[in-house]
Amino acid sequence: MYLRENPEEIAFRTEVRNFVQCELPTDIRDRVLNFLRVEREDYVRWQRILHAKSWGAPAWPQAYGGTGWNATWRTIFEEECFTGGAPRQIPFGLSMCAPVLMAFGTDAQKARYLPRIISMADWWCQGYSEPGAGSDLAALKTRAERRGDYYVVSGQKTWTTYAHWANMMFLLARTDSEAKPQAGISFLLLDMKTPGVTVRPITTLDQGHDINEVFLDEVKVPVENLVGEENKGWAIAKYLLGHERTNIAGIGMCRRLMRRLKEIARSEQKRGRPLIEDPYFRQRITKLDMDLMCHEWSLMRLISLESGNKAIGPEASVLKIRGSEIQQHLTELLMECAGPYAVPFVPAALELDSTAATAGGKLLNPLAAQYFDMHKISIYGGANEIQKNIIAKAIIGL
């Protein structure tokens, strides 16, 4: 054991911090740190800045244009980007579709899509969930029927994050309806501009629009867009979910929210003193800070096992649950900073360059909405109940 960041790691942390400080456009940073709406173009701009620095794909091997960093370096990178106010790197292409293509794709698929993922020439979305298939993903009903050189795909996807911004979707569809639920599923790549694709917005609790319903009506997908073998998509889906879980410790987001919490608690006043000095409030921040420190050590402990290319197992569920709970508590305390001013909410004031008036100022306006929006992270990517089922079964052996 060596329970300290080594000199290279320390130097790397400083390098990333400086880079974010110098290169992240300030308008993007302001929107991100102040919980305002981040635009499609903001994500793309930042991804391209990282790409130009060769940091576009922190988790990819160098052979594909990635950094080749180990998990510790990736965590340092994530923390520094988040605390510096960078938008998250959109995961659907980078951390979901790409690892699948690397592991299961053809050479042609890799050559075509991977460079476009890292440069964000393509924006990907994830077409897994359906109205009847959420936690029970294998219940999905979307059908893909082989007709000559095409699959003809019909069905409905839902909760699809950024489908309205995406030009590509990776999706699961049933190619054999006779087989057992898990056996007849295939993994397909879909161009969102294909006729028959309809995207409808879903408004969420924060009055925002990130997620969508996607209707697929006789959509023709060329057979070369099949990834891996027909009817073997379930193994790919599970492989991908493993990747999705590791990022979900949310350590960068936790760190950013904690920093913002302390800043806002310093600038808000209670009885003429900074709120952060109030013993009741300070105790709540303190407790959460302790939880966060431990969470970070759990993450480091776990990722140290991963080096040597052993993927993280069911233990990732522990991280996912703690990460989601801590982030939810952080947004709860952020909301409480606003006091009575947490209640008035002017959604228009979250938009780019809005001059809409707010009751308690632009800083406090988004905090309650942010709290409610954060309820999602214990639901998506495998709900916390499902994570606990995994812990009970796969770790404890019940």
Partner: protein, 378 residues
Amino acid sequence: MDFNYSEEQQMLADTVGRFVDKDYDFETRRNLSRSAAGFSEDNWKLFGELGLLALNVPEEFGGMGGGAVETLIVMEAFGRGLVVEPYLPTAVVVAGLIAHAGSTAQKEKLLGAIANGSRRFALAALEPQGRFDLWNVETKAVSSDKGFVLNGRKSVVSGGGSAASFIVSARTAGISTDQQGISLFLVDAGAIGVTVKDFPTIDGLRAAEVMFDNVTVTADALIGVLDGGYPILDAAIDCGIAALCAEAVGAMSKLIEITAEYLRTRKQFGKPIGSFQALQHRAADMLIALEQSRSAALMAAAKLDAVDATERRAAVSAAKTIIGHAGRSIGQAAIQLHGGMGMTDELAVGYYAKRLVSIDLTWGNSEHHVERYASTFS
């Protein structure tokens, strides 16, 4: 003690319950919330006809002379329907405040107007720098030959956008954090120098910022004694808090019913998700929190007329704290158990959760009331 409703109380519960069940589905509520006024004048008239606005007005001034239990009954039903009409500020808080502290002339003039639905009021008490402290008052009222001149700003005034008059706490003596030296004034929303900016709230209601710029009122606008407004305000807001607690209980019980129904009908892995024990236990926790909250709301209502104000404060703060926590955990659980559906703006679920959080953040959050309770014993 008798925890059963009297015949009249049962009738009241049935009447309001019917209104909410029949005329206040979530779609209706949503449309009202999005309308320009944010609520329905027709409903307001109906409340007048049903006698709900007269509930806290003494009989000699044209009211029903009801008490805390009647208010609890109405507010619980309103909580179930997430009613958006600004009933609480006018019919509970201001009605109670005038009935308790107004002069005979004020009572005659104002209480009748409340009872018959012709006038709405709002309480302008909190200020931007004061967070939840009612005694933190920097709005100034300076006496002049005509009466008083008011200057200052009041924040998050519930129902302020649709009120014809405000009851405003203003400093007439002392420094900005003294409990002494606060006086209460009746100010017309239309008076010269009053600016009202109405804002939507996270839960689909409205709250206003109200600015007073050299607003002149006559001497008879003073309510209660000069410099002695704080205890009156404190008591009136405790009545408001008890009513909010009852509203929260209504919202919680309806939210649990909605969630239970979802658990029965939503299927995953070939069975209703309500058959998973993990979710049954979560639902059971929600019910336990509701039961605690119901007791807390009754306790607060029972102590509103306690002779010893400390007893009242302790009970109200205890109830508010317990209900604040319960509302958060029930709201979060309801969203969680709905999965992705819980995150959508289309469903009522999110709005119940938001109303419960807003109630926690109105007139003192749990933290504030823990502190307030702690100051009641040595």
